[in-house]
C-alpha cells in the first residue's frame, strides 16, 4: 500500500506517495521530478545520490522516503539563487572540477554540508568530507581545489 510523505525540498513544501520501502532517491527522481541526485550504485558505495537531510549529508539511495517525513531535504538543484550560482558551483566550473559530471551533484552536496558546519576546512577535512564520493574522471585534485576555493570565496563574502 502506498503511503504519503511530505517534507520541504529546497525550501518548498512537497508531498508525494511512496511505495513501501521506496527510497528517498526514488521519490525525488521519479515522483517529484528532481533528477539532480544521481542514481549510481544504488547500494551506498558511490555517493552520487548524496542529498542533505536537515543539513546532514545522507545517501538517498539507502534512506527510506519515510525518514524524510517533516524534514528538510536539499539537493543540488536548489543551490543556485535564480541565475546566480552558488560559490561551490562556480568554483567547480572555474577549477574544471567536473568532466562527465555524474559525481558532481553528490560531491557538491557533500562539500556544502562540510562548508555549512566548517567554513574554513583544511585540505584533510575536505578529503574526509568527500571520501564517500567516487569520481571516475577528475582524479579528485580539481574537486579538492574547488571546494577550498569556494570556502575562500564564501569567507570573502562574509
Amino acid at each position: 500500500m502506498v503511503t504519503a510523505v511530505s517534507f520541504t525540498l529546497n525550501g518548498t513544501a512537497v508531498a508525494a506517495v511512496a511505495e513501501p520501502a521506496e527510497t528517498l532517491l526514488s521519490v525525488l527522481r521519479h515522483r517529484l521530478g528532481d533528477t539532480s541526485p544521481k542514481a549510481g550504485c544504488l547500494q551506498g558505495t558511490c555517493g552520487a545520490c548524496t542529498v542533505l537531510l536537515d543539513g546532514e549529508p545522507v545517501l538517498s539511495c539507502l534512506l527510506l522516503a519515510d525518514a524524510a517525513e517533516g524534514r528538510r531535504v536539499e539537493t543540488v538543484r536548489g543551490l543556485a539563487d535564480g541565475p546566480t550560482l552558488h560559490p561551490l558551483q562556480e568554483a567547480f566550473m572555474d577549477r574544471f572540477a567536473a568532466q562527465c559530471g555524474f559525481c558532481t551533484p553528490g560531491m557538491i552536496m557533500a562539500a556544502k554540508a562540510l562548508l555549512d558546519r566548517n567554513p574554513n576546512p583544511t585540505r584533510e577535512e575536505v578529503i574526509e568530507a568527500i571520501s564517500g564520493n567516487v569520481c571516475r574522471c577528475t582524479g579528485y585534485l580539481p574537486i579538492i581545489e574547488a571546494i577550498l576555493e569556494a570556502a575562500r570565496r564564501l569567507a570573502a563574502r562574509r
Partner: protein, 335 residues
C-alpha cells in the same frame, strides 16, 4: 621492516586515432535564420570536452563569437558518421572535419554577404564579433544575422558546410611488414616517486611530474583536467583495479565498489604537469589528442619506481601488496 623510497621514469609515444579500415569522421555546419551556427556531429562528449573544443574550432574558423556556435551531438544514428570517441581521436579526426565544414559554410556566408553588399566575396572578412565587413572599409558591414536572414528569405541559400576527414586505410607492406597506421603521435615523459612498505607491501605514490607534448593545446583547462584525471587512472590501473585478481581463476572478483578498489581523494599525490606545444602538421590548428595516453605512463613509471625502491620487478598489474610481499619473499629466499 622499513619504508623504501624509489623513483621511476616512463616515456610514451602515443598514436592519435587508429587505422584498420580507414579512420573517418564527418561534421556538418549550418546557420540558423538568426545567424547562429549549429555543428552536427556524432563524436560524443563524455566529459572530455568534445563539445567545447568543437565550439572553439567552429567559431575560430567561421570567425564568429563562440557564443554563437551550438553543438549537436544528439544522435549517432542520424548524425554524420563518426568512428567514435575513442583512440584519442576526437579532437584530431572530428576536429579536422569540423574545421572543413566550417570553412565551406563560411564560403557561402561570404558569398551571400557579397551579394548583399555588392562587393567581391574575397574582399570580405568576419570581425569575430558577429559582423561581416569589407576589408579596409569597416563601415560597410552587415551583421551575420542579417546575412543569414538574407540567405534564408531572399536569396534562397543554405549557409552550410560539409566536413570530412579520412585517414585512408594503410596496407601492410608484404615484404617488410611496415605500415603507417597513424599520422601523428603525442609524447610524454613522467617521473614518479613512490614509497614501498616492505612489511605491508603497500605502495604509496608520492609525486607525479610529467611533460606532455600534445601538439597545440586548444583548451589548456581541458588539457590539464584530462592529464590530472589520467594520472589518477594510471595510479588506479597500476595499484588498484582488477576484475579478476586471480585470473584465470575467477574467484574473488569484485562485484561492487566495496570490492573494486580505486584510489580515493586521500590517495592522490600532487601532480605537476608541463605542456609542450609542438603543432601537428595535419591537426586542427595543430592539435593532436590526449585522451588515452594520459593514463598509460604512470603504470610503467610506478613499476620502475617499485623496483628502484625494493629491488623487485613486478610484471603483473595491479601491483598489489600481495604481489609485492611474495616478490620480496622470493628475493629473500634467493629465488
Amino acid at each position: 621492516m622499513a619504508k623504501h623510497r624509489g623513483r621511476g621514469v616512463a616515456s610514451v609515444n602515443y598514436p592519435i586515432g587508429m587505422n584498420l579500415g580507414g579512420d573517418p569522421s564527418q561534421a556538418l555546419v549550418h546557420a540558423t535564420p538568426t545567424g547562429k551556427f549549429v555543428v552536427t556531429l556524432s563524436s560524443i562528449d563524455l566529459g572530455q570536452g568534445m563539445k567545447s573544443v568543437t565550439r572553439q574550432l567552429a567559431a575560430e574558423t567561421l570567425g564568429v563569437p563562440i557564443e554563437d556556435v551550438h553543438v549537436d551531438t544528439g544522435d549517432s544514428d542520424t548524425g554524420p558518421h563518426c568512428m567514435g570517441s575513442f583512440a584519442s581521436r576526437g579532437t584530431h579526426r572530428a576536429g579536422n572535419a569540423v574545421v572543413a565544414a566550417a570553412r565551406e559554410a563560411k564560403e557561402v556566408l561570404l558569398e551571400v554577404a557579397a551579394e548583399e553588399l555588392e562587393v567581391d566575396p574575397r574582399d570580405l572578412e568576419l570581425d569575430g564579433r558577429g559582423n561581416v565587413r569589407v576589408k579596409g572599409a569597416p563601415a560597410r558591414a552587415l551583421s551575420v544575422r542579417d546575412v543569414a536572414q538574407a540567405a534564408h528569405f531572399k536569396r534562397g541559400k543554405s549557409i552550410s558546410g560539409r566536413g570530412m576527414f579520412l585517414v585512408p586505410p594503410s596496407d601492410v607492406d608484404p615484404d617488410t611488414g611496415a605500415m603507417r597506421p597513424v599520422t601523428t603521435y603525442a609524447h610524454a615523459c613522467m617521473i614518479v616517486d613512490v614509497e614501498v612498505d616492505d612489511e605491508t607491501g603497500e605502495v604509496r605514490v608520492l609525486s607525479i611530474k610529467a611533460a606532455y607534448e600534445i601538439g597545440r593545446a586548444l583548451n589548456i583547462g581541458l588539457v590539464e583536467q584530462q592529464l590530472v584525471g589520467g594520472a589518477w587512472m594510471g595510479i588506479s590501473h597500476a595499484l588498484f583495479e582488477t576484475v579478476e585478481p586471480y585470473y584465470p581463476d575467477r574467484a574473488h572478483g569484485p562485484t561492487d565498489f566495496n570490492g573494486y578498489l580505486m584510489p580515493g581523494p586521500g590517495d592522490m599525490c600532487p601532480v605537476e604537469i608541463e605542456i609542450i606545444e609542438r603543432p601537428a602538421l595535419d591537426g586542427p590548428y595543430g592539435a593532436k589528442g590526449i585522451g588515452e595516453m594520459c593514463a598509460t605512463p604512470p603504470i610503467p613509471a610506478i613499476a620502475n619506481a617499485i623496483e628502484d625502491a625494493i629491488g623487485v620487478r613486478i610484471t603483473e598489474m595491479p601491483f598489489t601488496p600481495e604481489k609485492i610481499l611474495r616478490a620480496l619473499d622470493a628475493k629473500r629466499a634467493g629465488r
